[in-house]
Amino acid sequence: MKSKIISPLPGKTNSHLQAGAPPCRIALLGCGAVSELYHAPALRQLEAEGAAVVAAVFDPDAERAAKLCRQFPNAVCHRDESFLEKAPLDLAIVASPVSFHEAHAIRALEAGIAVLCEKPLAATTAAGDRMIAAALKHQRILAVGLLRRFYSNVQFTRQVIQNKTWGPVVSFSIQEGGPFDWPARSDSFFRKATAGGGVLLDLGVHVLDLAVHWFGEPLGLSYADDAMGGLEATCRIELSYPAGFKGTVHLSRDWKTSNLYVIKFERGTLKLRAGEAERVELELNDSSFVLESSLKNRTGPDSPAGAVSPASTFPQAFLAQLRDLIFAVRKAGRPTVPAEEGIRSLRLIERCYQNRTLMEMPWLTPEERRSALLPAAGGVR
């Protein structure tokens, strides 16, 4: 089969956004760590480019909202969500705790505002389905913040899988995670009622999104984690696919993993390191060398050798995600990761939780293990 060059994601730069068009009016809902560390600097950049203007910032914690608000000269600080019905807005970024995603997103959609919802879309697929239904009903965009889809090495991996560049996939193994170091501002991450899940939902939503994006829906799965009445810190998933290959996923927020994605093809092995957006490592079966490289964008399918531009780094990917949304809002088009796409990993996560077993923890004494298996301790979810 002849390989074809699959165009990378739009990778919209500011020039793709209509010159002279009024800036996209954005509301930021939730002023936690993700807003402070990522959305705020990205939005400042887009404001400087004239592509966006942050018009509203919302958080029930007035101090946090004010702190973020100060970064945006045109933003008005809000402590309740009623501003969504009153302020003229084009896009709402929902970065509140996951238990509020549904309420905040639907309220914005009902007010006629497009929504970029931080991952996970919702704590349950039922909630996600209601959000999608609201988007359809009100004919507004609902996208999910699955940022990694904008990484160049993620797009490259999809291309080589689809093109069977080194033959079909033989197997894959993914390890990702390490001691939890996100600057959490409350224990909502660690309470079942507010978080909805542990490392599988938090980190797994990214990882399983890539698994679905690359390999499609698995046929079978087995899942085990270490939750004993609370939320899992480590989990292991074994997946099997209609094409006959298998894969494993090991996630942890307890102990450092290899943070490595290894995909074996018939004629080679591709490795990606978690957290790197543009680097790849390639081993071809018929070569004794290993290629470690960073990806660049070809300027066009027929471009001469050397006509390349830097591929997305993490900040670039974050900006690309927002530009993609602004572009879709202006053109009433489809964003790269609409909710219908983003909910696929959530469905897989629910399948995992439905099939949950307790991980083998060989250091527990028999008495401890018996206790861990009791339903009251979370032995059965």
Binding site: A184, F190, K192, M228, G230, T257, W363
Partner: protein, 366 residues
């Protein structure tokens, strides 16, 4: 009995919480310093508290209703010493009966002379900053003990291994990378204690009568050499003791950075610090930090190309592997009725099981 655990997200603290919670032997309240530290503990539905030890009212509130406190806070000297007075005061206010403090056999040095016991005088002029910090911490506990009613009992383990122990994980990584090494054929004494044996000693230390102010050396019941300790983990990683680098102990010279670290924590400096204006301290601190940030000595010549992975010897490891003294635990046996329940081999088997759980490419029974 209700336990409060300070340092509950660490290696010892988290296993202690896990064990007490699962066995129901006692109720337990983990206390951590920030929300991010809850990830491991949140596997259980627990009544945790999040507070800095410097927040006296919050810490007192976190300790209220508990009978005993395990102090297993880890860190550098300022962290270790800085935690002691506020913790003691909060424990006193909260009505804690006894504090079990996790000290270290390092107070006696990493290769203590034969005949060392708990009664051997301690020195805080050792070559390693950590050892001195632990010696000073014991002195500080004695000092604060005089200010309140809360009893303090200390334990001095040495090589604590088990699930989530750096001894196991680092060795596995070194074995996999081909950089593991043994000094003197690995025949030095490795004073191991499997984590569950340490937890057993902690519980006994909380219960035993008339041990206020005492410190106890604790270890496994077997005599273990470094070769014995390395063997099972090397095997699980597909190597064996013959594959590791056999090295001689080089002469370690303390770097400027190490010396500065020692100077910074020295009692003399801490004592005279209040005599200086804040601005002068700030300038001095900045100068020390700038010195510490000095680049490492230049790289070796690029011409000889080293194809083989080489071990990276540390002064601490070199000292530990030259230990000839099996720490006694007669005092713990007598006053705490300490009889380690888990054998070394069982502890090692569980530790390797944890390595596999954590994603290390090890083979059980390898």
């Amino acid at each position: 009995m209700k336990w409060a655990v300070l340092g509950a997200s660490g290696f010892v603290g988290s296993r202690f919480v896990e064990k007490l919670h699962l066995t129901g032997e006692a109720s337990v309240r983990p206390i951590v310093r920030n929300f991010s530290s809850l990830a491991r503990l949140a596997r259980f539905d627990l009544d945790w508290r999040v507070t800095a030890v410097s927040d006296a009212p919050k810490l007192t509130g976190a300790l209220e209703g508990c009978d005993v406190l395990l102090h297993s806070i880890v860190g550098d000297e300022p962290v270790i010493l800085g935690s002691i007075p506020p913790v003691y005061e909060a424990a006193h206010r909260a009505g804690i009966r006894r504090i079990v403090y996790l000290s270290s056999s390092a107070v006696h040095g990493l290769a203590p002379p034969p005949s060392t016991t708990e009664e051997t005088p301690l020195s805080d002029r050792q070559p390693f900053a950590y050892n001195n910090a632990k010696v000073r911490a014991e002195k500080l506990w004695a000092k604060v003990r005089a200010t309140g009613n809360v009893e303090v009992v200390g334990l001095r383990p040495s090589i604590v291994f088990g699930p989530r122990s750096r001894w196991c994980s680092d060795l596995a990584l070194e074995a996999l990378a081909g950089t593991a090494y043994l000094l003197r054929g690995g025949n030095g004494i490795c004073n191991t204690i499997y984590i569950d044996n340490l937890l057993q000693a902690i519980i006994l230390a909380a219960r035993a009568p008339e041990v206020d102010g005492h410190y106890f050396l604790v270890r496994d019941r077997e005599t273990i050499t470094w070769k014995d300790f390395y063997g099972p983990i090397l095997g699980a990683c597909g190597a064996n003791a013959g594959d590791v680098h056999q090295v001689e102990a080089p002469e370690f010279r303390r770097s400027l950075k190490d010396r500065l670290a020692g100077l910074r924590g020295s009692p003399l400096l801490q004592m005279i610090k209040p005599l200086f204006p804040t601005a002068a301290i700030r300038v001095g601190k900045a100068a020390l930090e700038a010195l510490e940030a000095l680049p490492a000595p230049s790289e070796p010549s690029p011409w000889p190309r080293d194809e083989k992975p080489r071990p990276r010897l540390t002064a601490e490891m070199a000292a530990l592997q030259q230990c000839d003294w099996r720490m006694p635990c007669a005092k713990a046996e007598k006053l705490l009725n300490y009889k380690p329940e888990t054998s070394f081999s069982e502890g090692m088997e569980r530790s390797i099981g944890w390595l596999k759980f954590a994603g290390y490419p090890v083979k059980i029974g390898g």
